[in-house]
Each structure stands twice: as structure tokens, then as C-alpha cells.
């Protein structure tokens, strides 16, 4: 086989790529980006210096006023309402310093992957879990359930999830897009956690026991229908499937 033919076939990718469809990108988290240093700070420093000099003060004031007008106009433009983008990215979690859902993990660090996955945010003392519907071929609607975290000192957390009514006729197959869900995973991979499944109409977290030594998770169901997952995270555990 010639090199050119090899390169051409390599460029087409492995045959298994043809059938692979990556899960939809659904992100929760903060897209706050710090503006530090750079031209803005340099301009401000220059203006400050000009303000200190009597000879240039008037010019600096005029420049600052012009800057205010331009910046305010710009702010109005970028903050004006826009039509929602059809991306399925419906959740932005604003609070990175929220209390931990599990073992000191910021709530905002919870990532919702896989199109219709679960995201969470803190609302007051509650953790609000949000089910997204980014995929047009599913029949899920956004729902919320309340979960109250109770933190063990620096270690584990107890998560209680109320039952929710499943409106999908085939929930186990389509709750999380892209997964053949017989057992949906709540992945506890470092600071990330997402997932869940509806079993007999009840929203259930499935927590897998991480392989990391010292981690000790267990899942139990209470008589009043709560699913409780509790245990310890020895800091950045990595959970394996299965």
C-alpha cells in the first residue's frame, strides 16, 4: 500500500468512528472569565497618570467621559435580551462557592453531560436538580426535584431526592441521552457528579462504589421512598463503572 493511500485511509478515521455519536454537550458551570491585566488596565493606568498632571487633566477627564459613554453603550448592547439559542444549554450555575453536595465539592462543579443529563444548583438551603431536554427526539420536559444535602464534616454528604413522576413511557431507555440506561450512573469523578435514573416512577441516584481506597459509598432506600447515598470521599475519588 502506498504512503498516500495509507494517509488517505488514516484521514478517514477508524471504522468505529463511523458509528460513534458523542453525547450532546450539556454544560453547567460558570463561564465567568476574569479580565485581568492587558490593555484595559494599561489604559486605566495611563488615564490615572494623566489625571495627576495638571497639564493633561482636562484631556484625561474628557477621555474618561468618552470611555464611559462607549463602555455603557457597549454594555447595553451585549446585555440586551436575545432570542434563546437552540443549543440545549439551558442552565448556568452562578454560585461556585455553594455548599458541597458531596465531600466539599462545589455544586457548580457538577457537570451535566450527555444531552439529557442532570444538573444541579443550590437554591437557598436546597439543591435543585434539573433535568434538561436538549434533544428533540425525547419526550422529557424540564423538571426539578429538591434534594437536601447534609454534610458530614469534611467528608461525605447525604443526598435525598424526592420521587418525581416519570412522563416518559420508556424512561429507562431515554432518560439520559446516549446511554442505554439499565443502570444510570452518578459519576463521581473528582468534582463531577451527574446522572440518575427513573425506576418505577421514582428518581433514583445510582452511586457506584469508587475504587479509590478509603472511599466508602453506600446506597439505601428509606421506607418513605427516599434514596439515600452516603459515604466518604477521600478527596478526588475516581469512580469506575460497573
Amino acid at each position: 500500500m502506498r504512503n498516500s493511500e495509507i494517509r488517505r485511509l488514516l484521514g478517514r478515521g477508524h471504522p468505529e468512528e463511523d458509528a460513534y455519536r458523542p453525547p450532546g454537550l450539556s454544560q453547567s458551570g460558570v463561564w465567568a472569565h476574569k479580565v485581568t491585566g492587558g490593555p484595559i488596565v494599561r489604559v486605566v493606568h495611563a488615564l490615572r497618570g494623566a489625571l495627576d498632571q495638571p497639564a493633561t487633566r482636562r484631556v484625561a477627564i474628557i477621555a474618561s467621559a468618552a470611555l464611559v459613554v462607549v463602555a455603557a453603550a457597549q454594555w447595553l448592547v451585549v446585555s440586551s435580551p436575545r432570542a434563546p439559542r437552540p443549543t440545549g444549554l439551558q442552565l448556568t450555575i452562578q454560585d461556585r462557592s455553594a455548599a458541597a453536595l458531596a465531600g466539599g465539592v462545589p455544586i457548580a462543579a457538577i457537570q451535566a453531560w450527555g444531552g439529557g443529563a442532570v444538573a444541579a444548583r443550590q437554591v437557598g438551603a436546597d439543591i435543585q436538580l434539573i433535568l434538561l431536554l436538549p434533544e428533540p427526539d425525547t419526550t422529557w420536559r424540564t423538571q426539578t426535584v429538591q434534594a437536601a444535602p447534609r454534610l458530614a464534616p469534611n467528608r461525605g454528604a447525604e443526598v435525598r431526592a424526592h420521587a418525581v413522576t416519570c412522563i416518559d413511557t420508556n424512561p429507562l431507555a431515554s432518560f439520559v441521552y446516549g446511554m442505554a440506561v439499565s443502570e444510570t450512573t452518578l459519576k463521581l469523578d473528582g468534582p463531577q457528579a451527574s446522572g440518575g435514573a427513573v425506576v418505577n416512577g421514582t428518581f433514583v441516584f445510582v452511586l457506584e462504589r469508587p475504587a479509590a481506597s478509603g472511599a466508602n459509598w453506600s446506597v439505601s432506600r428509606t421506607s418513605d421512598g427516599y434514596i439515600i447515598a452516603s459515604g466518604t470521599f477521600p478527596g478526588g475519588v475516581h469512580c469506575l463503572r460497573g
Binding site: Y20, P23, W75, K187
Partner: protein, 185 residues
Amino acid sequence: MLGGFPLGEYLLFGSLVCVVLSAQRMSSERNEGDVKELYEQRAIQLWSYARRLGLSTDAAEDAVQEAFARLIRASEGQTPERPEAWLFRTVHNLAMDEYRRSRQRDTSIVRQSASSVAPMSFDARTALWDAVDRLPNRQRAVLYLRYRASLDFHAISFVLGIAEGSARSTCFQALRRLRDLLGDR
């Protein structure tokens, strides 16, 4: 007379706040779009790259997601200069971590992968990739990064943590070895 009245300071502060807020908003939207675009363009390749490094389909998917999660977190500080190469490097490192863990568990995920790739058929493409999966790790990685992911050698050297010249020579050796393997069929 403006002397003594801190109008300039007020204006300066106001302008700074407006500029920063605007820049934050625009930067946030731009980065969100960038990551989404990157995901659409590269998710399959990153997944397949992780597969070539021996991860199972699930583990490869996890590695890709973890890489993007790290990119999002990293972009809150200083955005990587070359996010595509950065993603491949992150996936590569995650795969190597998993490989080391699997060795501790006394299993060889690479060996499993090599025998569990797409079902064998006799078309040239399948035969080629079957041969690629039998190459040593680094040669396999370089071939994928160069010809499938279309990274230049500078980026490949960044992904693999090797010298650029070494990446070039590895690529040359990999192609030669690949031809040998295909010739054996």
C-alpha cells in the same frame, strides 16, 4: 474649575466597571461558543484517540468529557494557547493514567483494545486500522494525531511531551512499520 473635585476618578471608575462587565460578558459567550465548537469538531477524534490508546468505549467517553471539563475550568484562568492540542494532551494523559491503573490491576487494556476493535473485515481501511492498533503506543499515537487529527508536529510534540524531531522520526518509523505489517497480510 475641576481641581479638587474627583470627577475624573468617578468617570474612570465608571468606565472601568462598564468595560470589565462588557468584556466579561463577551468573553463568556465567546468561550462558551468556542468550547461547543471544539466539542463538535473534535469529540469523535478525541474519543477515537483514547480508544487507540487502549481505553474502553465508556472510559474513552469519560476521558473526553473530563478533558472538556478541565478545559472549561482552565479557561476560567488562562485559556490554553492551543486548545485542540491541549485537549489531545489531556486525553492522552488520562489514558496513560488509566493504563497505569490497569497494569496495577494486572490487566492490559491495550491488549484488550487491540483485539476488540471493530469487527474484522477485509476492506483496506479496517485492515489498516487493525495494523495501526498493533503498533507500539507512541507510533500509534503519532499516526493518529498527524493523519487523523491533522495536528502539526509541533502540536504532536506538545501532546506527547517529546521533542518535535522525535515526533517526526516516530511518524516516519510508524509509517514504515505500518507498511511492513500490511505487507504481512
